[in-house]
Symmetry: C2
Subunit: 348 residues, 2 copies
Amino acid sequence: MAVKNRNATMQDVAALAGVSMMTVSRVLADERKVRQVTQDKVQAAILQLNYKPNMSARSLASSRSRLLAFLYQNSSEGYVGQLLIGALKQCQACGYNLVVGSLDGKEEDFAKVLNGLLERNNIGGIILPPPLSDSTTVLDFLASIDIPVIKISPQKTQHGFSYVCMDESKAAFEMTEYLIKQGHTKIAFIKGPADHSGSHLRYQGFVKALEKHGLALPENYIEKGLFTYRSGFEAAEILLAQKDRPTAIFSCNDDMAAATLSVAQKCNLSVPDQLSVVGFDDAAIATSIWPPLTTVRQPILSMAEKAIDILIRQLEAKNTEADEEMPQKNVLDFDLVMRGTVLPPSAM
Amino acid sequence: MAVKNRNATMQDVAALAGVSMMTVSRVLADERKVRQVTQDKVQAAILQLNYKPNMSARSLASSRSRLLAFLYQNSSEGYVGQLLIGALKQCQACGYNLVVGSLDGKEEDFAKVLNGLLERNNIGGIILPPPLSDSTTVLDFLASIDIPVIKISPQKTQHGFSYVCMDESKAAFEMTEYLIKQGHTKIAFIKGPADHSGSHLRYQGFVKALEKHGLALPENYIEKGLFTYRSGFEAAEILLAQKDRPTAIFSCNDDMAAATLSVAQKCNLSVPDQLSVVGFDDAAIATSIWPPLTTVRQPILSMAEKAIDILIRQLEAKNTEADEEMPQKNVLDFDLVMRGTVLPPSAM
DNA sequence: ACAAATAATGATAGCGCTAACATATTGTGA
DNA sequence: TCACAATATGTTAGCGCTATCATTATTTGT
């Protein structure tokens, strides 16, 4: 297919542009200290030769670590895979590499495992998805060795580390408002476990929406769940056994929403005609059940990308002794994914 | 914590071992052309200094591509994330790097996208998870440029590319036998789509087990599904509406098994007391429903690792002009995961 | 036992890039 | 206008490793 002439080197670019290699190098990195006309010449040469810098040579010469680590636990969740994909892409785009490390043993071994990983690989920064983003053991250790860290969707925001997350409260608020605008007034809520990230925020957003629209919040419309299918099942059974049934149920995550669908079915309630159901997360289960679940999509890919961006910025600030504002907090947008489980309440 | 003395270089190792750097380099790579005593000396020095070779320097000096590409489509599946994790780990262990590329556009653009990716990065080999492992477009293109490729769980095994997979037929056979040994004789089966990898093999294993144990295979116990929750739901409804109901249902994947659980519930059949259900894949949904699903676990991580191993071997064989047996086929072991949806049939 | 073949090891020269400093060019105020 | 600062660009010397070939130690056949 394509003729394989040796890849262009920086030397070629420099020659073609009529400048020294250093200038090319600066155009690639600095941007600041090169005159516009020179930059243009160089860029043109780069384009013409389809020059791509050699990563190995780069990191060898600069001896700067262009290696980040992605630490995870509970690899089974699809969530982690998604994050990983996003992180990997962004790393490539920025000329960084990513190593993955799993922390699955005992909590007391974490420090040892971490130390090994870091020493072996000369890692410059760390990206921490949940639940590690809230592990005191890990966080304490990382704080002690002064390495850039970015947390994804942490619950607690102490430790001074930067993080990215989304506005869960706002998402719950908007989803609830959507239900209200569809005409629902009897909306029940299945809470998540008190200690889980987002659980409280989601409930908060729900309550705020009800208040804004002057709707009541009967205590018997609020049930506690544990984020598991089973707990959602039990909660939904209680909710739907009542005389004055809700016409919509907002479940704090998709697993419990899926369970709610099962209960509705068992009660011969058709979804969405007789009961509307919404979830949160846009997990895999949301589209593998029927009807497909209306839910809130977390911007997982963007989170990962943003996280890498911030991490790299911190790392480079650290290298150049520049002062970077710390910690960085980044709140991303979400999407309401309207699928098949919401309809206006039927006239009963 | 740890004192940060400069990382040991190969020079240090050579000095300590009393040999030249070249010898150290050979110990790290060749192994063959170095005497045992020398190897031992070097290894000892490496250990003592905790020496770790510098990847950048290595690939710069050897100018050999230590870069593999992981191409995927439909990133939404947790499956891909798992594969990616496994592949990444193995790559690191072998001193390789992995870039990920998604092929989500139109089929006719694949070649262009691929070409871009490969040219840009000097990629040495490609790992292809499903469904790309069966994409004629991609396979044809890759065949045309003569690059090492490894397919994961392909349906078709032509194209001469190596692949790794598991013995789906045997897994289905064993799972069915397990059901039979529990005392079940009336076992129904929900098939997958005819064109999907594994769908047929799983059915085949099921049939073989019935035959071995002299059990009948009534036509009304076989239903067709599409691997979706909804299709499983419909299939299960038909299966369970019959007068002479099966006491166990083998569903060709977990989503449909989950749907079967829903139908059972709707029919007031308790699982596993009155109906046993098994699935296939050990997808996320298997443990997010209640009771947790007994199913077949695909060795996804091992598959990815093995795939990388084979790919690297091919690449190195290609570099050294050595003849590697082609194509490599690798069939991995599976696990039967006994959870909560199987019990002996109740005396009715 | 000795030359010839073979195996093990070493010396040298980069791989493609950037850090650090040197130099050339431009701008500034008196 | 000139000294001087500020900015832009070039020069030199490696980063840590491996390819290549030269050299030295070991084996082998007769």
